[in-house]
């Protein structure tokens, strides 16, 4: 039943984009790169503002001038950060989600201390949100 070949749309993970890198610095230093707007903007590109608190707001202006608004959902200092974001002028129902996970890599055996950084972006979940609202209003 399940397809034989490796066409991308046969992969169940087609539902999100995920990337992982290793940084040669402890999680505290990686986390700090999110906390100040100048530093965040420098690596994010464009102008990036994010209030790293649950319920905190954010605003990302891309290099082309496109603006996305954000709302911080989950904060676990030095470990986990997740926010919703949606294009300016659109409903927050059109929000996609971004989640960062930082995992400290121990310096056992003389290895360098480092951090594994994983980011996962999910596409806009409008349909899911709409069905929740439909369920709430009918129930």
């Amino acid at each position: 039943m399940v397809a034989r070949d490796a066409s991308p749309w046969h992969d169940a993970r087609v539902t999100s984009v995920e990337r992982t890198i290793r940084v040669a610095a402890p999680p505290e230093q990686v986390w700090a790169a999110f906390c100040d707007e100048a530093t965040l903007s420098a690596w994010f590109g464009g102008d990036a503002r994010l209030d790293i608190r649950p319920g905190g707001r954010g605003r990302f202006t891309g290099p082309a001038g496109d603006v996305r608004l954000a709302a911080v959902d989950e904060v676990e200092p030095y470990r986990h950060l997740a926010w919703r974001w949606w294009p300016l002028g659109c409903s927050p129902l059109d929000a996609g989600t971004v989640a960062f996970d930082l995992e400290g890599l121990d310096g056992d055996d003389g290895d360098e201390v480092g951090t594994q950084v994983t980011v996962r972006e999910e596409p806009p979940a409008r349909r899911a949100a709409m069905s929740v609202l439909a369920g709430a209003s009918s129930g």
Partner: protein, 112 residues
């Protein structure tokens, strides 16, 4: 460029998350347009189940019904699939660039 704000991308991903729907879509792509009854002979599921999957694929814009006489045949409409793949490619390359810049920035700060 396909951007992250396409509301229909989620419908496409939701439709493709089910292995039977992917198999139905593959069957239509390989074998050409077919009716729900014809498709049901190719999979160990009922015609009703196939019809539900076709509805979900149709909602996502991945298949389109065509009426010919008393039959309704479904054919693949690939454009939304290209949108979804385009979203993944665009978003993935943005994160590749940002993560490279993040690493460079943090590691440079550490050396100074």
């Amino acid at each position: 460029v396909v951007e992250a704000d396409r509301p229909d991308v989620d419908a496409i991903f939701t439709a493709l998350a089910d292995p039977t729907r992917r198999a139905v879509l593959r069957s239509l792509a390989e074998g050409g347009a077919a009716t729900a009854t014809q498709l049901a002979t190719r999979f160990p599921v009922s015609r009703q189940a196939v019809a539900k999957h076709l509805t979900a694929l149709g909602d996502a814009g991945l298949v389109a019904p065509e009426r010919s006489g008393r039959e309704v045949r479904y054919r693949v409409t690939p454009d939304p699939l290209l949108d979804a793949m385009g979203w993944m490619a665009a978003v993935g390359s943005q994160w590749d660039r940002r993560l490279d810049a993040l690493r460079a920035r943090v590691e440079a700060g550490r050396e100074s």
